[in-house]
């Protein structure tokens, strides 16, 4: 009984090993992206036009950036994912974990039309490309907050006592936000003690660990001012709630959703085509309309109504965004979390 099975397994293995060499165009590729409206938008803006143009079907592998990275690490020997979306920060960890392949400008001609800030290089080679920015800006209740806030320091005003919310380190924006505050306050790099001292003085209603918790807090009136992602804030405003979103004078911390070519994929050519599709002005504009992602592609035209909701605000551009060096953030990550735990998340 065992002999036929062993034989079949051997034949199967042989087929799997030889198949990529034989296949000219695969019938499908697998792309990892996020759940919810993000996944819906990626599908509508990138995957569907791609399948239409090439005839290659796209299978979605849904998960958060961290989960996707964990999968890629496990599948290192024989990846089943060909292309992966991962956020800034995780992208750098993916590079360190050696699961990303080089993006070749010859195979992905649209790289030439992409903002230089959105091309991520490791030495001379490109390992990731941004497909759109989102920011953590100042969000407020337009009924309860009379004067439009202009500075992050407004959160410390006594009138907002017990009604402020900012991210906790459990949120992906939590650690970078602490460093962002340190930077805008001009505190010495690497010494966060005065930054924490000031955060400790903040009379917060809550420190949100998920975007959903933040949305909930603004919706219920638990928080009337604080930080939130532009996507989440405008979602609330679109539902008719009195919520406003501004990029304060100090700027807004931002990051992006990036595409990666998975190292060792058997469908490299099709995968590169997919990434190229995501970098078309049409795809970038579509993501801006659906997710208010700031386009990473040059010369993308969006409706004025959408332009207002982009991460850099009504009049800004990518220059207004505080894009951090994730290597620096990741280096300080464990210390920031630890200090936060001991000083802030404690009675």
């Amino acid at each position: 009984m065992t002999r036929p099975i062993r034989l079949a397994a051997a034949m199967l293995a042989t087929t799997l090993l030889t198949a990529p060499a034989l296949a000219q165009q695969p019938s499908s590729i697998t792309v990892a992206w996020y759940g919810g409206n993000w996944g819906d938008a990626f599908k509508a803006c990138v995957a569907e036009p791609f399948s239409k143009a090439t005839g290659i079907a796209v299978n979605a592998e849904i998960g958060t950036s961290t989960v996707t990275l964990a999968k890629l690490q496990q599948q290192k020997a024989a990846p089943t994912i060909d292309v992966a979306w991962m956020d800034g920060g995780i992208s750098e960890l993916a590079l360190a974990a050696e699961v990303t392949d080089t993006l070749d400008p010859a195979a992905i001609p649209n790289l030439a039309n992409t903002l230089p800030e959105a091309i991520y290089k490791n030495g001379a080679t490109t390992y990731a490309v941004g497909t759109g920015y989102y920011s953590l800006g100042l969000t407020y209740n337009t009924q309860k907050v009379k004067a439009v806030p202009t500075s992050w320091n407004d959160l410390w005003k006594p009138e907002f006592e017990d009604a402020v919310t900012i991210p906790s380190p459990a949120n992906s924006s939590g650690v970078p936000f602490v460093m962002f505050l340190s930077k805008i306050w001009g505190h010495p790099a690497g010494d966060l003690s005065s930054t924490f001292k000031k955060i400790k003085e903040l009379k917060a209603a809550l420190f949100f660990d998920s975007s959903g918790a933040a949305t909930n807090a603004y919706q219920s009136g638990e928080a009337i001012i604080g930080a939130h992602f532009n996507v989440g804030a405008w979602d609330l405003a679109d539902k008719g709630l009195p919520i406003g979103f501004v990029v304060p004078k100090e700027g807004a911390w931002a990051t992006d959703a990036r595409l990666h070519l998975v190292k060792g994929t058997s469908k490299k050519e099709a995968a590169a085509k997919f990434i190229n599709q995501a970098l078309t002005p049409e795809a970038s504009g579509c993501l801006a309309e659906k997710l208010y992602l700031g386009p990473s592609v040059k010369n993308v035209a969006v409706k004025p109504e959408t332009a207002r909701k982009l991460p850099w605000g009504e009049t800004g551009s990518v220059k207004n965004l505080q894009l951090f060096d994730w290597a620096e953030i990741n280096g300080l990550r464990s210390r920031v979390v630890d200090d936060w735990n001991r000083q802030i998340a404690r009675k």
Binding site: T66, L93, D162, A163, S168, P169, A170, N171, S172, G174, V175, A204, A205, L206, F207, F208, D209, G212, A213, N216, A217, S220, G221, E222, R333, S334, V337, N341, R342, I344, A345, R346, K347
Partner: protein, 277 residues
């Protein structure tokens, strides 16, 4: 291997494989990670870092205090509730309805229910509106971000476990024992104290242990209802896995938590053990 033995072995291997794959293997992975450095060298450093730092003991104290209070409140509310369902309710459809009411929330997500409490317990929530309306308080009380808020959420989510465990134990007590007790001169209160309560104790303990374990290991409810202002141990673990990516230290935190919880449960079990059993 004989032909008849093979199916039997396969049948035995299946549950064993399941156990290994879903319980033993993940545990082993966590345990090994906790005893190695990022580079894979064996070390006790993670445990030393946890145990030598009073901060971790503070968080453990908060965690176990919330767990113990949750268990206590669940027992205090759950026992009478189980009594009501098993002893007072005579009309079967009503009893069935009550049990369904109790069990149905178990099928909805923790996250949904905890979000519900966030809305109810908020400054403009129903609870505060009610208390102000009744004239009991003047300004909205703070529930979110307090241990009281976490306690309310955990009690709500874990109460069914106690009620079902105690109800099951109470239903099994032979009514003849109560008659015998009354016959021998015990008042109803005396019968409860000396007969019914001791006989329902194993069910109560089982329910309490379950609630305590779930309460100290709970993440979602404390995370949502603490508003990031109170830290319980599961949050430290989650942070290491989700934002710091230090699986070695995170693993050591998990094992510490597991060992301490099991030790506490074992002590509780020993204390409540009947003398002879």
């Amino acid at each position: 291997m004989s032909g008849t033995l093979r199916p039997v072995l396969l049948l035995c291997a299946l549950p064993a494989a399941f156990f290994v794959a879903f319980f033993l293997a993940p545990m082993a992975v966590v345990l090994i990670a906790s005893l190695t450095t990022a580079a894979g060298q064996p070390t006790f450093a993670h445990y030393l870092r946890i145990l030598a730092d009073t901060y971790h003991w503070d968080v453990l104290w908060v965690t176990f205090r919330i767990g113990a209070l949750t268990t206590l409140v669940c027992v205090l509310i759950g026992y009478p509730l189980a009594w009501y369902l098993v002893r007072i309710v005579k009309w079967r459809p009503w009893r069935r309805f009550c049990v369904i009411l109790l069990v149905v929330p178990l099928f909805t997500s923790n996250i949904v229910r905890s979000f519900g409490w966030m809305v109810l317990l908020g400054r403009n929530g129903l609870v505060n509106d009610g208390l102000i309306g009744l004239g009991l308080i003047e300004r909205p009380m703070r529930f979110l971000g307090t241990e009281l808020g976490i306690l309310i959420g955990l009690v709500y989510i874990l109460l069914p476990f106690i009620v079902l465990a105690v109800g099951n134990a109470l239903a099994k007590v032979d009514p003849a024992l109560e008659h015998a007790s009354a016959d021998l001169g015990a008042t109803p209160a005396g019968t409860f104290r000396t007969i019914i309560f001791p006989l329902s104790l194993p069910g109560l303990m089982a329910g309490a242990v379950m609630v305590f374990m779930l309460a100290v290991s709970a993440y979602v409810t404390p995370a949502l209802l603490s508003g990031g202002r109170i830290t319980v141990f599961s949050m430290l673990i989650f942070q290491q896995y989700s934002s710091v990516f230090d699986f070695n230290y995170g693993g050591a935190l998990s094992i510490t938590m597991l060992v301490l919880t099991l030790a506490l449960v074992a002590i509780a079990g020993r204390l409540s053990e009947p003398r002879r059993a």
